[in-house]
Symmetry: D2
Subunit: 120 residues, 4 copies
């Protein structure tokens, strides 16, 4: 996996253009020497930056839901993660801790339920 | 999962600032009304945009390596995916096709090897 | 007398730089292709735009104070002309009319005074 | 005579707008707080900056052509003054010196001519 600053700049430039930030796009095009980029813009689909950011967010959500032993926690009960949350390591680790606790309590409840059933 | 444009703008703004694109950062700050954003910038770590883009790229790589049946293909033989490749749907599906073919041929070789061993 | 837009742009660019409008200076330098200008900036003194504007204002003040017959009206009694006033033709012609009226009334007073002296 | 920076900024802003420097106009409008200006833009005619610069240039030409004793030198023989020349004190004083010399030599020629006529 490799990310060059030329590539990031290209996606940012496109984002500025597509979002109607015309003055920012102009200035950034100059400052980042976008015209000297080797990237074939014709091949890059619209909203590419948003798309890759969305996948980054999905990746973070996946990270949260996977335990160290590789087992997957059900995250449906969790509030959805915002983009800004997703870039804050503290929030991510809190989320993960919260989720583990919840998962542990759920499994205890399941055991209790099973025991209750048996004792009947 | 939810992404607001305010959040994307904030990460882009930070990227422009951190990368030394001072004029672009100034203009974008104005055009995107960054000063009216509710995001507490003090909590956002440096290089947040790059970090989430990197995770987006990892997500795409994971997508490529997982078969429809959930089995995972070894992607070590593949060239690393560039960011621009990762935002092009055609390249992603080509990669996946290529990888499946390669995996199929590998598993056939394994079967052949096994048969050869047995026939001895 | 000849003014090229390259020359005006150069003075404007310098004004932006000298006045601390760094982002405007950057953007204008690009948009006006200042780097391709033939003007030797080393020879242009600071505050050149302000200086030529001030002279323009002095010229307007001179225009107001000169009658059609070439005689000069004393303008000391007039309020000083602001730059924005000086670019508005209506204000200039009003000023001139006002000044002529005043001058006419003054000269009548002088004649009256002279007559009064004589009659004594 | 008084020039406020608000007034100069307003004329510069208008110049940027009218000349099609849209990105510069945007950035300068922000940097110079043009929206907080008290100037009634509706009253300012187009090309106001150019107009006042032209008058500044006429003023410099007038300065060159007037001797210390108030007599006026015929400047028709001189090359027209460019705007950049007009803001360089050295060029202005050279012009003036050159013009005085020329005027002196002309008047000597006139005297010689007169003498020649007389001696005939």
């Amino acid at each position: 996996m490799s990310i060059s600053s030329d590539e990031v700049n290209f996606l940012v430039y496109r984002y500025l253009q597509e979002s109607g930030f015309t003055h920012s796009a102009f200035t950034f095009g100059i400052e980042s020497h976008i015209s000297q980029s080797n990237i074939n813009g014709a091949l890059v689909p619209p909203a590419a930056l948003i798309s890759v950011i969305q996948k980054g967010l999905q990746f973070v959500e996946a990270e949260i839901s996977v335990n160290e032993d590789g087992s997957v926690i059900d995250t449906r009960s969790l509030d959805s993660l915002s983009l800004i949350d997703a870039v804050m390591p503290d929030i991510i680790s809190n989320r993960k801790a919260e989720l583990s606790k919840q998962a542990a309590s759920n499994s205890q409840n399941i055991i209790k339920d099973e025991n209750r059933s048996k004792s009947k």
